[in-house]
């Protein structure tokens, strides 16, 4: 196991700074007002804003008490995780056996070429020791990130930023249910931090098992509807989880997604971040009362019950070129394309800042991220270069349209409908492909005919159809660059074939 001897870990935040920061935040929230008022940092006045001040105001006392506890613990220990750090030997025999068995099975799985082994290995670990997640996480500050879209990228940003301070346990290959998390934590036993992405449906269980002290909640949109995971059902599940939280857990949540706000507002301690919502079809109705939501320029509000977008001290600028923080605006220097990645960076920034990482250090770390487990990678095959993009549901496809719209590359779209994709691909009709009318496109994948009918109806010029997307690279002009947008399993397969590991 790696040893942390010699690693100097400074205090996260001095008690003074914490207290100053807290007072500033409380002042910014302001007294309860009849309207959002001119002082509001982000919004014009609309009904309902003050209701959120009431909600937030009601939990100020327990929150400040909790912060006090945290601050004094930090001040006394200076290296709190080392004080609480549990060497492997102190894990019960059962846990050590579980980890050894899981590793052996994972290694065997890799040797057999069955995959990367994280899931099967983690399954074995949890079978042998069902309490393993809690035991592994006992010495870690766990940040759990969940969303329909962007969780891998955001978790990666958070992990990179935290890693400037101390080792981080991170499920970087996207194995995001309990087994994958167990594997990641077991592989980085000595890490004081854990940054884990968690599947939306599994978040409550994993967050509870790992005693996550920070939950980053970003968006909920339609995805894999054949599994019965309707968006409102997931939001309700998150809300029930939030109701059980204590102020020891900080929730960092996207104020622009009404479904996320509905869930997060039940938590006692919330940092709101305006990181954008460009897909609104799954939050047409007020999650609280069911009335149609209004969408004023400043956000969203329910005309019937007053449930509305909370005010934020962190948000992305209108052009998504800057992130406004409580300390002023900063410019992200992302290699990753798209305004949604600026949104991802904004919420990652707020999360790691609360862990004591400076804005500059965090932004520098974010700028080092050029691909996320194959997403955005430029790969070569048949002498042509292809950029790999993941479009797994209507919201992420819509985001990818923004990324490729200015590109001169030939568009290749790939669609499967296996279990992990959702077996009903009719969601492709929710994507506004009409915007690309007249553009040439190659169509591939197991459900290529569904996609070809969709794109033809939208007026695109379907220049080729093949089961294998690589046929497009083979047949394209020698100097032709390609943008390949593939959904989940199609993307995984392409990455495995094109990107050396």
């Amino acid at each position: 196991m790696p040893v942390r001897a010699g690693v100097t870990i400074p205090t996260l935040l001095s008690p003074e700074r914490r207290s100053v920061e807290f007072r500033a935040r409380a002042a910014a929230l302001g007294p309860v007002r009849e309207s959002g008022g001119a002082e509001a940092p982000h919004h014009g006045p609309w009904s309902g804003v003050f209701r959120f001040c009431e909600v937030i105001g009601a939990v100020d006392s327990p929150r400040s008490a909790a912060r006090g506890r945290t601050s004094s613990a930090l001040a006394a220990g200076a290296r709190p995780w080392q004080a609480r750090g549990v060497p492997d030997q102190t894990l019960p025999l059962r846990s050590r056996t579980a980890i050894a068995a899981g590793r052996a099975v994972a290694a065997a799985s890799r040797a057999l070429g069955r995959g990367r082994g994280q899931v099967i290995g983690g399954r074995v670990m949890l079978r042998v020791d069902p309490q393993l997640l809690a035991r592994l996480a006992a010495g870690m500050e766990v940040t759990a990130v969940s969303a329909t879209n962007g969780k891998s990228t955001t978790t990666r940003m958070i992990a990179e930023a935290l890693a400037t301070r101390a080792p981080v346990a991170h499920n970087r290959t996207g194995a995001n249910m309990a087994p994958g998390v167990a594997t990641a934590l077991a592989e980085s036993r000595a890490a004081p931090f854990a940054a884990i992405e968690v599947d939306e449906a599994h978040l409550p269980a994993v967050a509870a098992a790992t005693h996550a002290s920070q939950l980053v909640l970003m968006n909920l949109t339609r995805d894999q509807l054949d599994r019965g995971s309707e968006v409102k059902m997931l939001a309700d599940r998150w809300r029930r989880m939030a109701e059980t939280l204590t102020p020891a857990t900080e929730v960092v949540a996207n104020a622009d997604d009404p479904m996320v706000v509905w869930a997060a507002a039940a938590a006692p301690r919330v940092t709101w971040v305006g990181c954008g919502q460009w897909w609104t079809l799954d939050s047409a109705l007020c999650p609280r009362c069911g009335a149609p939501l209004a969408r004023p320029a400043s956000g969203w509000a329910c005309p019937a019950c007053g449930f509305a977008r909370p005010e934020t001290l962190w948000f992305i600028s209108h052009d998504a070129d800057r992130i406004v923080t409580p300390a002023g605006p900063v410019t992200p220097r992302l290699v990753l394309p798209g305004r949604f990645n600026v949104g991802n960076a904004a919420i990652a920034l707020a999360a790691v800042n609360a862990r004591g990482i400076s804005l500059d250090a965090a932004l520098e770390a974010f700028s080092q991220v050029s691909d996320v487990d194959g997403r955005y990678v430029r790969a070569s095959a048949h002498g042509r270069e292809a950029r790999l993009l993941l479009g797994k549901n209507p919201a992420s496809w819509t985001e990818m349209m923004g990324v490729v719209s200015d590109s001169a590359a030939l568009l290749v779209t790939v669609l499967n409908a296996r279990g992990a994709d959702g077996r009903d691909p009719s969601w492709i009709w929710d994507v506004g492909f009409e915007e690309w009318a007249g553009r040439p496109v190659w169509v591939a994948g197991e459900r290529r005919f569904d996609l070809a009918v969709r794109l033809d109806t939208a007026g695109l010029d379907v220049v080729g159809v093949s089961a294998d997307p690589l046929a497009a690279l083979e047949l394209a002009a020698p100097d032709q660059a390609l943008d390949v947008v593939a959904n989940y399993t199609a993307f995984q397969e392409l990455r495995a074939r094109l990107v050396s590991k």
Binding site: L285, P292, G419, D424, S426, F449, A452, T457
Partner: protein, 280 residues
Amino acid sequence: MTAGELAQPSTAGGGDAGSGVVGIVHLYPTLMGTYGDGGNVLVLARRARARGLDVRLAVVGPGEPAPEDGDLYVLGGGEDASQVAAARELRASGVLARAVERGAAVFAVCAGLQVLGRDFEVSGGAVEPGLGLLDATTRRREPRAVGEVLAEPVNGLPLLTGYENHGGGTELGPAARALARVVAGVGNGGGASGDGLEGAIQGRVVATYLHGPVLARNPEFADWLLELALLAATERTGADGAGCGRLAPLDTPFVAELRAEREAYARSGKLSAESARTRR
């Protein structure tokens, strides 16, 4: 909806008698369109325009008045809360009842089918009154019906292919008849073990449980609905019937391949295995 052409209420049909104008009203796509059902309207509009018809499309959001002079009203599927909101709004406005009374066609999918019926049960057990435009009642059924469907239409159309995903079972009364007989899948799921029926027809009100979207996978079905709409348009404008009759055949690229692939899949053993896994 991505279509940019938002006709003002009351002008969806226009007054161009006999000139092949068809008014399509897309009801609440933001509420009722969870499974890509908005694609049905895109297909209808495209197939109508390919025949030289002048399509007036109105997209109606919640809280907005729907045009009174549409020829075909389209309602998609949606989650429980959306479904209840749509049903209440349509009952309050009465626009669909008036449209049906004067001969307009209505096409609904899944939760939309349930809304058109006499009443429907949502999860939790509450029974919500529907619009009563279909002699149909819907109650919760277990397990949820999820998977590919093949069904033989009763009116001679080609085999229907689609995907179902619903927790309601619908029983038809004597005033409504089924749209099709199920070959593979569940369909309406009325009765204790399912009655083998799919969809409903009552006058010019047509409904199905199939997504896909169903009109993208079944272009002849789309054309039949357009023919009903043209009939309604002719009656509405008092024209001489020039716009009526059968539409000319239209070649639609990739649809034959898609239908063959889906039919083979639905007929194969894969279907029952997949259903066993996904139903719960």
